[in-house]
């Protein structure tokens, strides 16, 4: 005979009520990455064997810089969302889970800002 109240038996169960944003942004960034990845692979092929000046010349075109920043940004966001799921799946120690999640999310933002700053300062 359980001594728990009906309320205590149900608290915490049921819908989590949040998480759709994560699912949506994961798909949105995925769709955006289809053309961006293709663009990246094609351009990377063009830049194989290019010397420093050819590569810099490529980076002076604003379309290339724009797409590169878009590619890196969307890629980092998609990666960070995906890694979040992996961490939540496999790491159950709350302290480690939180630490890793924060580290990866902060690193993503830092890398993105870094890339934008580098490309702007170089131009």
């Amino acid at each position: 005979m359980s001594l728990r109240t009906p309320l205590s038996r149900v608290l915490g169960l049921g819908s989590a009520k949040e998480g759709v944003e994560h699912w949506w942004w994961q798909r949105l960034t995925a769709v955006a990455l289809i053309p961006l990845s293709i663009w990246f692979v094609v351009n990377a092929l063009c830049l194989v064997g290019a010397d420093y000046h050819e590569a810099r010349l490529w980076a002076t075109r604003s379309l290339n810089v724009t797409l590169l920043i878009a590619f890196v940004g969307v890629l980092l966001h998609h990666a960070q969302l995906g890694l979040q799921v992996v961490i939540e799946d496999y790491i159950h120690n709350e302290a480690w889970k939180l630490t890793l999640l924060l580290a990866i999310k902060f690193l993503s933002v830092f890398l993105f800002v870094g890339v934008v700053v580098r490309l702007f300062l170089a131009v």
Binding site: A30, V48, A55, A59, L119
Partner: protein
């Protein structure tokens, strides 16, 4: 904390491996690998904006045997994750969820990955004659 020393029933050693399981875990594995690959991309951008000497070091690294191996594996991961990702997006809109379709699309993804990877690397060598 839960007692994790208790004996568990075997699962991976017992359950018959299927294409679906393999492709699913490979999608996760390639995703994780590509997350590491992003760091290489950021490094390349840093080198490009750093100056001729730093860029040469980066190019030498990517052109080395280790570098090319890493890039080849990254290409494989990229095309696999891309193709299987599209397969996932079709599932998300409710298409192709029948068992036959799942297996057919699964094989298509595997073949496409190999073809795209080989095609890209052949193109790379053809365009630049084996130099980095």
């Amino acid at each position: 904390m839960a007692n994790t020393d208790r004996p568990l029933s075997p699962h991976l050693q017992v359950y018959r491996w299927q294409l679906t399981m393999l492709l699913s875990i490979t999608h996760r594995a390639t995703g994780i690998a590509l997350s590491g690959g992003v760091l290489l991309l950021v490094y390349w951008i840093w080198a490009l904006t750093a100056g001729q000497d730093d860029y040469r070091v980066a190019v030498e690294f990517f052109g080395s045997v280790i570098g090319r191996t890493v890039l080849f594996v990254m290409t494989l991961c990229l095309f696999y994750h891309l193709c299987n990702g599209i397969r996932h997006l079709f599932w998300d809109i409710g298409r192709g969820l029948e068992l036959k379709s799942v297996y057919a699309s699964g094989w298509a993804v595997t073949v496409a990955t190999v073809l795209l990877t080989l095609g890209t690397w052949i193109a790379a060598y053809m365009m630049h004659g084996g130099q980095s």
